[in-house]
């Protein structure tokens, strides 16, 4: 068909079309605010973060300990209610060195997201940030490195994932 047809519909616009005011557009900013309930399992997770602790939860049937905790095991569908206190150390499963924000504007000091497998679980990771990584993280960071949480002081903790500032290599 593409061998037989030469003209395809669709008109691409260019910045000049807007600069020369040839295109009419309408703008709108939606109003949307949310108040999300943390739920039974994450409610406990957050409360323990305020205490300076990481907790996971164990499924007896599947014999696995996971973090973040959840009310039920998504694999066997049974309830999970055995919360387990976990060390705040782990291993880097993967990481990135990010120089852009969501709107593609550039940042000079990169953010370093990582999936960190928390000790004491069955390779269960959480998303967090890495810090104190030195001046050339692209070269020096490696998958498999050991890391340790750096917490906010107790009076600044509010029961949020950001009660941990970041994880640092040890």
């Amino acid at each position: 068909m593409t061998a037989k047809i030469t003209a395809f519909p669709g008109t691409g616009l260019h910045s000049q079309d807007f600069a020369e005011k040839r295109i009419l557009t309408t703008h709108w900013v939606p109003k949307a605010e949310y108040a999300w309930d943390a739920g039974v399992a994450i409610g406990r997770y957050l409360a323990e973060l305020k205490n300076g602790k990481l907790v996971g939860v164990r499924c007896h049937h599947c014999q696995r300990t996971v973090i973040p905790p959840r009310l039920f095991c998504e694999e066997c569908f049974q309830p999970m209610d055995e919360f387990v206190e976990l060390p705040d150390t782990g291993t880097i499963n993967t990481f990135s060195v990010c120089f852009v924000k969501w709107d593609m504007t550039r940042i000079t000091e990169p953010l370093i997201p990582a999936v960190i497998e928390i000790d004491g679980t069955n390779h269960a990771g959480i998303l967090h940030l890495l810090g104190e990584v030195g001046p050339d993280p692209i070269k020096t960071l490696k998958v498999g490195m050991r890391v340790q949480a750096v917490w906010k002081p107790a009076e600044e903790r509010e029961g949020a994932i950001t009660d941990i500032r970041y994880f640092k290599p040890v």
Binding site: T2, C98, V100, W102, A160
Partner: protein, 388 residues
Amino acid sequence: MTMRRVAIVGAGMTKFVRRAQETAPELTWEASKMALDSCELKLEQIEAVVMGSAPDAFDGAHMKGEYLSSGAGAFHKPYMRGYVGGGTGVFAPAQGWYHVASGLFDTCLVVCEEKMSSCQPHPQGAFLTIFDHTTERPLGPNLLWIFALEMNRYMSVHGLNKRDIALVSVKNKRNAADHPCSLLGDPNITVDDILNSEILAWPVQRLDVSPVTDGAVAVVLAAEHVARRITDKPVWIEGVGWALDTAYWTNRDLYYPRYVEAAARMAYKMAGITEPRKQINIAEPYDPFDYKELHHLEGLLLFDRGKAPEATALGITQRNGDLPVCPSGGLLGVGNPIAAAGLMKIAELFWQLRGEAGKRQVPGQPKRGVAQAWGDLMQVGTVVVMGV
């Protein structure tokens, strides 16, 4: 399974552009009308319509299926809109397939559309809600993070380097130079161009990523007895598959897309494919990033885990290679209007298997192809096998 045979009998698509003048319903109509005209059918001969389009948040329109319905010819007809992120473009034809295979309808129009450009200042903003509102969003994530994390895991587990992966971007952007609708086709691009492009979220660099795009694609499905009246070259949908992995993406090993394998096994079983490496002649896996083509080729069981980069370096996946991959130019070259991109791959296989792909034609009269798309939080695999 005693399902009726279903064929694709017509296809149409718009140009894929960075920002289209046309509204989303207008783009939808352009592609739908073209698909109908390509097989000389009228709208009244279409018995049902399936629409695929990704987040409503791109358009700021509630119930996007209804917003697009005029352009999809859906009034007074049974109409269904599905959405599984980027997997939508291959999910929609699977939905269309069961509309007809079940015996409920003899014809079905499947159309996928995306107009990302309305979402300001950048459509990535519509993806911020993909992250868990309590455990992840407070960390300030953006969509590039998940790709960068997955790419680094894939590279680290297999000991790959960026050069091996960048070859995919070169292949697809060069292939796209022969696609009349492409946004980023470039016959002269080199590996060094990719490797010298700006680092966005290491290991992801600018030319590893497909662009924000507006576009629409449509195909017409028909039951066998109707298909044979319409065309002497029906392309059969031989197998469909779809599978979802857990949203606890940080609890999974990202190096291998087991959800793609699950969807592929479902589609291969239905199509009677027992040796995909011998029985598939063309593959169109989803390639929003260059490493994803490799990742998905392995999930489709077309190469061993960690071995797709080597095959690419050997030229096996070029158009004249043993297993052409993304002869269309893929998302990296043609463009990535989220839901329409997957259906572009279906349309490509339609034209390839009929020998109508012009300068992109894979030699040797290919008989069977597989298209695959992917979406959500690295969760969805959608697979369709087509054959003549």
